[in-house]
């Protein structure tokens, strides 16, 4: 393992985390990307920007989210002490709003008047539509037509909030194509439009910027854990699609060497079947959507459509910082299948009275795997990054229940 003084200094000036990241975009977008970078640098140096974010985080989003000791689950599994960081209790039901509030406030600083976004499961789309309603900005959300069909409640939610939802029919009609289409919109509307990317990927400065906005999760966790236990946790666990909730929890802990950090990818029907969304386990470095990252692709460099029961993890890439953290060995990456996640989903409902989203159910599946063998004074924090109301239909179908 490469020994570094700090894992928290990246990216470099050109947006690289080691080999990963960068700015692989068409020339049309490049001047705008540089503008966003400059605007973000300026905003970071302006205390009133952070104050504005803090205001909305507290009064609109409902932060800080609780750090909850899952007592029954801990007792049932019989090993490590399990805490949930309850980001599913945020307004709009997931961690996505943390990032959206930051970006929309930046867009306003830049004088942009129109917002676009991509969405997979619809959580980022709903968060973006919400913020656009709050700030009275027109909003267009790109969503693959396959996802539109399987996440119809979120589509309706976005429309209620006043957003226009564009069902993307190009390519494989899922999240990656929604991203392509949003980029195409942006290229055509660079003057007035700000693109709110939902995860820690895309051209620099997005991966770092989204991470910064999500780091509120890890910062709060640190403070709350000191209050609850008087020490740092031993293990952090979070699910990974693009990787934003995980990056938000992990980043503040990267230099705390005693803390073991685990990201959990979606293994779909099993890595060996080829039907999965585990970019780090089943992919290799490639360039897509403006950055280099681990990418699920065929031998000719063509992107392969990923698969997961969870639309929010169904992305062929993974943020560049995760890609780098994997290579450096600082973070360990595991995976959980659809079935593991569904089992964890049901377990959480009955054991803790919390209906988790299918995405963090993958993280929970891994917690259930490791907790029993760990000592009772070992502390695990899992990011419960979204609530499962949106997944109830999927689970019902799977269990053969007619609603």
């Amino acid at each position: 393992m490469q020994q570094l003084n700090s894992y928290r200094t990246g990216p470099d000036e050109s947006g690289r985390f080691g080999l990963y990241g960068g700015r692989f975009v068409a020339e049309t977008l490049m001047p705008l990307i540089l503008q966003v970078q400059q605007a973000y640098e300026d905003a970071k140096a302006d205390p009133s920007f952070q104050a504005e974010i803090d205001y909305y985080a507290k009064h609109y989003v409902g932060r800080p989210s609780p750090l909850y000791f899952a007592k029954r689950m801990t007792e049932h599994l019989g090993g490590a002490k399990i805490y949930f960081k309850r980001d599913e209790l945020n307004h709009t039901g997931s961690h996505k709003i943390n990032n959206v509030m930051g970006q929309i406030l930046l867009a306003r600083r830049m004088g942009k008047t129109r917002i676009i976004a991509e969405t997979g499961a619809g959580q980022h789309g709903v968060a973006t539509a919400t913020a656009c309603a709050l700030f009275d900005m027109p909003c267009k959300v790109y969503m693959g037509s396959v996802d539109v069909a399987r996440q119809s409640p979120n589509v309706f939610r976005m429309k209620l909030l006043g957003a226009e939802v564009e069902a993307v029919e190009s390519g494989s009609k899922t999240l990656k194509d929604a991203l392509n289409e949003a980029m195409r919109d942006w290229v055509a509307n660079v003057e007035d439009t700000f693109y709110i990317i939902g995860t820690v990927a895309g051209p620099h400065p997005y991966p770092a910027m989204v991470r910064d906005f999500q780091s509120v999760i890890g910062n709060e966790t640190k403070e709350q854990m000191m209050e609850a236990e008087g020490r740092l946790p031993d293990t952090l666990v979070a699910c990974i699609g693009g990787g934003s909730n995980a990056m938000g929890l992990f980043h503040p802990f990267l230099d705390d060497k005693s803390v073991k950090i685990i990201g959990v990818e979606a293994a779909g029907k099993g890595i060996e079947t080829g039907e999965h969304a585990a970019s780090l386990t089943g992919g290799r470095p490639g360039v897509l959507h403006g950055n280099r990252m681990y990418l699920i692709q065929d031998e000719d460099g063509q992107v392969v459509e990923p698969y997961s029961i969870s639309a929010g993890l169904d992305y062929p890439g993974i943020g560049p910082e995760h890609s780098w953290l994997k290579d450096t060995g600082r973070v360990t990456y595991a995976s959980a299948t659809d079935m593991d996640a569904v089992e964890a989903f049901q377990f959480c409902c009955k054991m803790e009275g919390i209906i988790p989203a299918l995405e963090p159910s993958h993280a929970l599946a891994h917690v259930m795997r490791i907790a029993p063998d760990l000592p009772k004074d070992h502390i695990i924090v899992m990011n419960l990054c979204g609530r499962g109301d949106k997944d109830v239909t999927t689970i019902a179908n799977l269990l053969g229940v007619k609603l």
Partner: protein, 282 residues
């Protein structure tokens, strides 16, 4: 990442010779784009090989990619048709080799996105591209900020790296964009993706004049050209006009429901190119 300019730009060879010839003829050129392997290898190759005789002055071959972010529906669909029918980078380079054997003079440029090249391996790609007789590369998602990836290695290997300039590339940025550009400059005439908006000649003239203040390289203009009249007007406003989506649409119009070429597909496409060629020669 700022890189120093490469000391010696590649000898633009066939590209420079072609622009010199166009100048001597007193007309603008016609640059045609087709996606390699669209609708399938055989027909795609037939079309490609027929382009110079139909009147194309420079030929661009698109390397298909699953996620062409800067392209509109026509070129997206063409790439997927080609991939569906088994097109690979190796096959694309094989097509280039055949083209070069038949047409020793016509400049041939590969256009596409970085990942298939990165996956193939940059050094191996450049070696094989040179062997196939490629004169230049246009890689949409490699702005000057990423020059170390492919631009610098290409220039050092003697392959032209043709850059896109756009309406958003202002005077401050133009020198950076032009710094490691060779062969010619490709001016993207509209904000947006390929094949979706109509080109306007007046702003193009202004933009070309602006770029000329920064470079002696030939300037070609593309995105949004469909008719022989537009091809004529734009080719004269610059040094050449690029037509892609409109040709691809001709391919598509001559496919059956299963995506297989109808009889006469190749001829229909080449007839259209011939009409465009007459436009620039009128």
């Amino acid at each position: 990442m700022t890189e120093a300019a490469v000391a010696i730009a590649p000898d633009s060879g066939r590209i420079a010779a072609r622009f010199a010839a166009l100048k001597a003829e007193g007309r603008g050129g016609l640059v045609t784009y087709v996606t390699a392997g669209d609708p399938n290898y055989e027909t795609g190759l037939e079309i490609l090989l027929g382009l110079p005789d139909a009147g194309a002055d420079i030929v661009e071959i698109g390397m298909p990619f699953t996620d062409p972010m800067a392209d509109g529906p026509a070129i997206q669909a063409a790439g997927l048709r080609a991939l569906h029918n088994g097109q690979t980078m190796k096959k694309t380079l094989a097509m280039a080799t055949e083209f070069r054997a038949k047409h020793p003079e016509t400049p041939l440029v590969l256009m596409g996105y970085y990942n298939p090249i990165y996956s193939y391996g940059v050094d191996r790609f450049l070696q094989d591209a040179i062997a196939a007789g490629i004169d230049g590369l246009i890689v949409v998602d490699l702005p000057p900020e990423e020059d170390v990836e492919l631009c610098i290695p290409a220039l050092q290997a003697g392959v032209n790296f043709i850059r896109l300039a756009t309406p958003t590339t202002d005077d401050k940025r133009l020198p950076k964009v032009l710094q490691n550009t060779s062969g010619f400059v490709y001016y993207v005439s509209i904000l947006g993706i390929t094949g979706t908006k109509e080109i306007q000649a007046d702003p193009v003239r202004g933009a070309v004049a602006r770029i000329r203040r920064h470079t002696d390289l030939p300037i070609v203009v593309g995105f949004g050209i469909r008719s022989p009249e537009q091809a004529r007007e734009i080719s004269r406003a610059a040094d050449a006009a690029v037509i892609g989506s409109a040709i691809i649409e001709k391919v598509k119009a001559n496919l059956d429901d299963q995506g297989a070429p109808l009889p006469g597909c190749t001829q229909a496409v080449l007839d259209y190119v011939a009409a465009l060629a007459q436009g620039v020669r009128r």
